[in-house]
């Protein structure tokens, strides 16, 4: 079967800056941080941590109360992002004929509906209830978002949730890409969503000692990938979705094409659960480049995984140095998690959208707060302030997960598209 080109015809997100793509990207270009301080009233020890929330998102208003009530927040964020991407692609919510039997959805979430289970534990152990809501299972299950997206949009093909820690939605997008490219599915919706602010989950991340520490005042500036003295990541909630479509089909229906998903590489370090390895990342980057038939010289931007952990950032830069060799020094790289936080399973999808927007707009968002570069992270062109009027041809978006799973997506700009 001949390989087809894969057009990105829809982008949708629920972000801390809202759902407007242009506004979202403009804020990132300006280096605006969405990180705030989260304080809860839990006893005996409340949560006090930097966090990125989506305060403007009201599920009942966006999805309607009947649907919102059937979903945990992670799935609410996901279904809303999926609807936004679908609308952006100019596709009707409900099919008029049975054309969608082989259209599908691949989703990514590291945690699934943890807030539903968090509420269950509180009801049982804190509130003295003897039983739980009968919806607890369908709210909490990891495939709740993709299941509801399939139902709502009438997608009769594959409907899966990839749970691969921080690479979940990058892998979901990559797997959807393969289905469209092979001709198995003419249209796929791919993305991810996460709402990790469940009490025990947040405390578990805290125990791992990879979280940035901050107070109310310093929270907006506390996530500093590649910087000297960086002290970790910031969790965030949100949802992001892309519509991937057979290129010829997209052109035939006159769809706006945001960009081309050209390649996908996924590997495993097979090394350690939480210590990343250069070799595994190198293989993933090279695999994506080969898959996309792109050369090193074609890559004008890398949206890095860049979580701001002391251990992870130098490994990622070392991998880029190894792949790009003498060209690495001029390779533009930024880690936008410094502004929108780490969405865990949804990170890959959100950063894929940012990468596509960078190519489309010819502009590169910065790594915010990178005032003083850690020498261990040197060797690439770190973007520390938004760069405008860049003629970008192709770009990579990297996601490197706990467990050693790596996923790299390669995108091409589309000439003549707004």
């Amino acid at each position: 079967m001949s390989q087809r080109r894969v057009a990105i015809t829809g982008l949708g997100l629920v972000s801390p800056f809202g759902g407007d793509l242009a506004d979202f990207f403009a804020r990132l270009l300006a280096g605006e941080s969405a990180v705030r301080f989260l304080r809860t009233d839990d006893l005996p020890r409340p949560l006090n941590m930097p966090f990125v929330a989506c305060p403007g998102f009201d599920a009942g208003t966006t999805l309607g109360r009947p649907l919102a009530g059937m979903l945990d927040r992670f799935a609410q964020l996901g279904v809303a992002a999926a609807f936004a991407a679908w609308d952006d692609a100019g596709l009707p919510r409900k099919p008029e004929i049975d054309e969608r039997d082989n259209w599908g959805v691949t989703w990514g979430s590291a945690l699934g509906g943890v807030l539903a289970f968090d509420k269950g534990y509180r009801d049982l152990w804190q509130n003295g209830r003897e039983r739980l809501s009968p919806l607890s299972i369908v709210l909490g299950m990891n495939n709740a978002a993709n299941a509801q997206i399939s139902i709502q949009l009438g997608l009769g093909g594959i409907s899966t949730c990839h749970s691969v820690a921080c690479a979940s939605s990058a892998i979901a997008i990559g797997e959807a890409f393969r289905l469209v490219r092979s001709g198995e599915a003419p249209v796929m919706l791919a993305g991810g969503s996460e709402a990790p602010q469940a009490y025990a989950v947040a405390r578990a991340w805290e125990a791992l000692r990879v979280m940035a520490s901050a107070d109310q005042a310093s929270a907006p500036h506390c996530c500093r990938p590649f910087a000297v003295g960086r002290n970790g990541m910031v969790l965030g909630e949100g949802g992001a979705a892309l519509v991937l479509e057979d290129w010829e089909r997209a052109v035939a229906r006159g769809a706006r094409i945001h960009g081309e998903l050209a390649g996908y590489g996924t590997t495993c370090d097979h090394h350690h659960l939480v210590r990343p390895a250069v070799a595994g990342q190198v293989r993933a980057i090279r695999s994506a480049l080969v898959d996309a038939r792109l050369t090193l010289a074609d890559i004008d931007y890398v949206n890095a995984h860049g979580t701001a952990t002391p251990e992870g950032d130098p490994v990622e830069i070392a991998a880029l140095r190894e792949v790009f060799g003498s060209a690495a020094a001029a390779l533009p790289v930024s880690a936008t998690k410094s502004m929108h936080g780490h969405l865990l399973g949804a990170a890959g999808a959100l950063e894929a959208i940012i990468t596509v927007l960078a190519l489309r707009e010819g502009a590169i968002p910065p790594t915010a707060h990178l005032d003083s570069l850690d020498p261990a992270c040197a060797g690439v062109d770190h973007i520390t302030a938004g760069r405008h009027s860049q003629p970008l041809r192709a770009a990579l978006s990297s996601s490197f997960a706990f467990g050693g799973s790596n996923a790299v997506l390669a995108f091409r700009a589309v000439a003549g598209q707004p």
């Binding site: 309607g64 109360r65 009947p66 009530g69 059937m70 039983r131 809501s133 009968p134 919806l135 369908v138």
Partner: protein, 78 residues
């Protein structure tokens, strides 16, 4: 609170169903009550009225049938 008003309150809060539509003759399915929502509604009635509905009971089709069922259980078990 009587059973009818409890059902009205639940469907309004959960689904946004206008209370004036929740009348005894109304079909629960037409109001948007599917099997999962029926489970929620049954739980709500049990919690609020301290009754227990038989797991194997035939699912009521109308608001009036559900009200009659819950009222009977309240008399028997209350």
């Amino acid at each position: 609170m009587d059973s009818l008003n409890l059902i009205r309150e639940f469907l309004d809060g959960r689904m946004g169903v206008p209370p004036q539509q929740v009348v005894p003759a109304a079909s629960l399915a037409d109001l948007g009550v599917d099997s999962l929502l029926m489970l929620e509604l049954v739980f709500e009635c049990e919690d609020r009225f301290g009754v227990t509905l038989d797991k194997n009971l035939k699912s009521p089709k109308t608001v009036g049938e559900l009200v009659a069922l819950v009222d009977r259980l309240r008399r028997e078990q209350g």
